[in-house]
């Protein structure tokens, strides 16, 4: 090793290091990948169950606008609603929300924020609000039964009066509005899909 030229040694050592690195990562990926995907699948199923009314099973529709999850009754004909992911920017970064929607009643059946990096203690109240000890999930719970027409609106410092209104979070108006905007935008796309298909399946 010592009698090789410097550049040869540099090439040899770096090649050796990267080969070892590649081998370690490939082996580890083989081992962890099924587990990571299992957790992702579990989280997805739990989220769908959270936002839809009780269902027997759900069908996955792979549309060009992303996946739709249709909750079905036992006989597979009647649907209880459909769930879909809505993704957009919040106050600090991407927010990913699972949304449950009843196209017949034109209202939401529930939402669950899956990923967010909002301000801890303020914007994170879109997920849980520890300062409300009786009902830490009060904010996302408001979306159950909210009307989507003309569109969902955030109101500040007041109780909602109309059925399409959501009460904003004090100190996190931007995060509250961002979630509603992300849901409204995605709803437009999904509603178009439903209209194209001629009513929901």
């Amino acid at each position: 090793m010592k009698n090789l030229s410097l550049s040869t040694r540099m090439i040899l050592v770096l090649t050796l290091i990267t080969i070892m690195s590649g081998a370690i990562l490939a082996g580890w990926d083989l081992y962890t990948k099924p587990k990571v995907e299992y957790h992702r699948e579990q989280a997805l199923q739990a989220a769908i169950a959270d936002v839809l009314p009780p269902y027997d099973h759900y069908d996955v529709l792979n549309t060009e606008q992303g996946y739709l999850y249709v909750g079905k009754e036992k006989d597979s004909t009647a649907s209880v609603g459909l769930a879909f992911m809505a993704i957009g920017s919040g106050f600090q970064g991407e927010v990913r929300i699972m949304v449950g929607y009843d196209p017949d009643k034109r209202q939401l059946t529930g939402i669950k924020v899956l990923e967010q990096i909002e301000t801890p203690g303020l914007g994170t109240k879109i997920v849980t609000d520890p300062s409300n000890k009786n009902d830490p999930l009060w904010w996302s719970a408001q979306f159950e039964g909210v009307a989507v027409e003309p569109e969902i609106v955030v109101i500040k410092n007041a109780k909602p009066v109309n059925d399409y209104e959501i009460q904003g979070i004090t100190g996190a108006t931007i995060s509250s509005k961002a979630v509603v905007r992300i849901i409204n935008d995605r709803l437009d796309v999904v509603q178009d899909l439903i209209n194209q298909a001629g009513g929901h399946k």
Binding site: I24, E115, I117
Partner: protein, 203 residues
């Protein structure tokens, strides 16, 4: 390297006298960013220590082989490999912690504490001695992160490791779980450590 230092001294120095955060002010990004709860501090500390130990093992073993000119490139590839291993481990076995810590686990790769130990110690010392040094530094890092995380969690959320310890009478100090709380707590802790040290010298 002239005078021999006992293995015990190599280990203990990382806990207090040369503590990576308190004395060298290394690895401050994760220290400040993830310590809004004790459990996050513990997870970050453990992940960092794992990366530190495994990188040390490899770099110290190869220390006579790596040409000086490409050592940093080599170290970074090795460190990045083990950071990815730690990241995938958390995602596979502790998905909740993985989701909470988010991008901060991949960012261990730029933690100066790790590269600093390789450059200052592991690349010049035998494997055993380097591992002892890294273990001491890693434990020192975990200790500080847990202390910081606990203080911020108690004052900011009224709980510790997720268990509520302060009753309803306590209204949480929101600032403690926000970034300013990290700077305030770290500043006060470092002042405290320096005060203790100066009293020890005086005594």
């Amino acid at each position: 390297m002239a005078k021999p230092v006992s293995l015990k001294a190599e280990f203990v120095k990382g806990l207090w006298n040369e503590n990576p955060v308190m004395a060298s002010l290394l690895g401050l990004c994760p220290t400040l960013a993830v310590t809004n709860a004790a459990v996050n501090g513990l997870a970050m500390g453990l992940a960092t220590t794992f990366v530190l130990l495994t990188s040390t093992l490899m770099i110290s073993t190869m220390r006579n082989l790596v040409p000086h000119q490409v050592r940093i490139a080599g170290y970074i590839v090795i460190i990045a490999t083990f950071v990815t291993v730690a990241d995938r481990f958390l995602a596979a076995f502790f998905p909740e912690i993985s989701a909470t810590l988010g991008p901060y686990i991949p960012l261990i790769v730029v933690n100066c504490l790790i590269l600093g130990r390789q450059e200052a110690f592991s690349s010049r010392n035998p494997v055993g001695r380097s591992l002892v040094d890294s273990l001491g530094m890693g434990l020192g890092f975990i200790m500080v992160l847990i202390v910081l995380g606990s203080i911020r969690e108690i004052l900011g959320s009224g709980s510790i490791f997720g268990v509520t310890v302060l009753g309803d009478w306590f209204s949480p100090w929101m600032v403690m779980i926000l970034p300013p709380g990290a700077f305030l707590t770290l500043g006060i802790l470092i002042a405290l450590v320096n005060w203790i040290n100066s009293r020890r010298i005086a005594a």
